[in-house]
Amino acid sequence: MPGSLAQQPVYEADGLIAEDIDTYLDRHQHKSLLRFITCGSVDDGKSTLIGRLLYDSKMIFEDQLATLEADSRKLGTQGQNIDFALLVDGLAAEREQGITIDVAYRFFATAERKFIVADTPGHEQYTRNMVTGASTADLAVILIDARKGVLVQTRRHSYLAHLLGIRNIVLAVNKMDLIGYDQARYEAIVAEYGAFARSIGIEDFMPMPISGFKGDNITTLSETMPWYRGPTLIRHLETVPIDVASDQRKPFRMPVQWVNRPNLDFRGFSGLIASGTVRPGNPVRVLPSGKTSTVSRIVTQDGDLDVAVAGQSVTLCLADEIDCSRGDVLAAAEEPPQVADQFEATVVWMADEALLPGRPYWLKLGTRTVTATLQQPKYQINVNSLEHLAAKTLDLNAIGVTVVATDQPITFEPYADNRQLGGFILIDKQTNATVAAGMLHFSLRRAQNVHWQALDVTRETHARLKNQSPAVVWFTGLSGAGKSTIANLVEKKLVRMNRHTFLLDGDNIRHGLNRDLGFTDADRIENIRRVGHVAKLMSDAGLIVLTAFISPFRAERAMVRAMMPPGTFLEVHIDTPLEEAERRDVKGLYKKARAGQLAHFTGIDSPYEPPEAPDIRIDTTRMTPEQAADLIIERLIP
């Protein structure tokens, strides 16, 4: 055994346990919890350090120690000495390889605190494991081998810890025994690391010279390094402030997990409070609906509470019967979080199969699961050099910044403000694997601070008053296909049937609302987005809305469909072959386009994506506009 065991410290007051167990239990009961991760390269001595923390805190029993001694002789790398690393390298395959290949959680306690350690690997391809471990950590211990100094891996670990929002960083310069406890070398390493840390936004860190193997500055101050004035690693871990107060000062937010309804007289909303403080009488708002009420009770099995704070699992009752279900967020009424459907996010890819931009994934954030698509990354971050690189996709362990769009608005907060409402996972819809983790930074809507106002006169009220079922009939097809002609006929027939309608026509809208838009792909998408929303508002007002736009891209038509209540969106493909439309050339536009006088003309130098499964397909080479209009009305008003 290493000689340092002679100066073995005592974490727990052994005497107290033996003499006054009640006092001991009372102390243990009031301990706080610190979750931390250790990150280091393969040979930085990470497992040895953790093994020592467990060993010194008496988390190792005699029988385990006997196994450890036997294993150390058989498999160990420390000769006849105890190889502490063997204590924490769990799975059989890993033991043979001699490296930790997954995240493992270890537990120990001191007189002040209980600790959960995420033991995360230092191996090149396992960024995903470190990100996983860091996601729940309050503190990170970055290990450096004193012989090697700041390595590429050190930069990567520090960057990831910072990215995941860990504010407490310990720089543990390990293996000081192997450089003869050289103060100058230590200080050079700390200076080099400090310059790097500042460059990535780490404002503060706690450096310390240690030896996991010999035990220097782990639990007792090293006698061989009298020049070190700081605390031991353990002392620092047990006294570093955990910023619970700032979490509790933030506005109240609780994602609703489950609606508790044992009988007709009780309806409670269960969840884990993500931030803030809540008391009976507090006004709250349900997001994204925007409805408000007041907290009437905070229910637990141990009796109602006067106050509940971030980190507690509770059940809240509201004063009013309002709609609220799993996936909603209960929030302070006057300071609600944002609701949006497009975000900039940093995404860490965790699957062998690379990101497919545009493919729908499940996105889970808080208790809400929605469909999301990612754009091609704006850039990928090289975690070693921290350079921004151009990227078309993200491979396993790649980190990139991209735009995430969800099919429904979700309630969120920037990750930097709130891990619970800013962190998300992506799930492959086919394999159900968790393929990525992400952090939302901000919403891309300018209206990010506009909240939904719950209205008393609803879509249903408007529809009843007009005695009709509102709908959006979306005509799509090439220029000159006959969209406007047929839509116009349909509207005339509907009006004759006393239906309240409105026709949004592409050319007309481009004279007004969308006069600022051109014909690039981006402008076409924005054109359709605006028209979609106008159609949505008009149908909310009870109207049957007809739209006549080329709307060349499937994705945008799908986006508009998703805005409407199910069954109220009718996609009508006016299917006229290009040759036929060009032959008709009612407005002379094809001629101009062919002559090169019109850029981005659909069908000529800009693509048209025909619907794969339109609700109605009109082949204008086989029926007259009149017949087409009747067919559409038959479907619309059965």
């Binding site: 033991r95 402030p241 619970v244 508790n260 699992s313």
Partner: protein, 310 residues
Amino acid sequence: MNHIDLKEREAVRLTHLQRLEAESIHILREVVAETEKPVMLYSVGKDSAVMLHLARKAFYPSPPPFPLLHVDTTWKFKAMYEMRDRMARESGMELLVHHNPEAVEKGINPFDHGPLHTDLWKTEGLKQALDLHGFDAAFGGARRDEEKSRAKERVFSFRSASHRWDPKSQRPELWNLYNARKAKGESIRVFPISNWTELDIWQYIHLNDIPIVPLYFAARRPTVERDGMLLMVDDERFPLRPGETPVELSIRFRTLGCYPLTGAVESEATTLPAVIQEMLLTTTSERQGRAIDRDAGAGSMEKKKQEGYF
């Protein structure tokens, strides 16, 4: 406590047990919200007692919206059966008891059949019960501090349709976001008390006055010493070897299972604080009293898990 920053002192300070409790309740609720037919595996031990207590808290005032499942071997201590039936009554939950019919038919017992006893009654019995009722999620009371390979298992642990666990393809678990999606036929074993230690369990039982089987407390009981283990003669099925005579000793159990496989420790601890005191001062690990870990040497628990043992 002058090292604690003033800001922190103004806040409501959650203790580690409060944080663990909140995390476990969160997990229990996520499973109920995201799976179709969950069940709680109830083994009547102290970890099960805590897990059941947390479930009752999580869904209060509703009873937990899932049944309890006891995969029985018929060889548990009598006191365990009494506690099991009492807790089912008090919690208002349905109690399902499963006996592997093959093990019943062959009369499998721990005295004559060695490792086959655990394999047939428990491992096979559990798979049968889950398939029989079509449960797609099963809560278990395993803790990460129990054993090295447990330390790396996720809170949500997926099993193939044939109940196998693949330690190489586990889903990453970030923040408190659990991905409960699975293909038809797959199921999840969920461990809500993953992050609790043995001391946390005892302390929580103490603070919340949670009923536990009296065998955890010392009392004078008939015992025989066999193969280095102190066994309790719990009923007349215990075959005495030549020369063995039961001796009354003050004993208790640190862990409970099939009585012929569970070693007792000599103890005078008749109260919870005294039990905790002994636990803290003891120098052997909890699982040492279980014969199961000795079957195949190092890595045996990992192997059992891959085969479907909980």
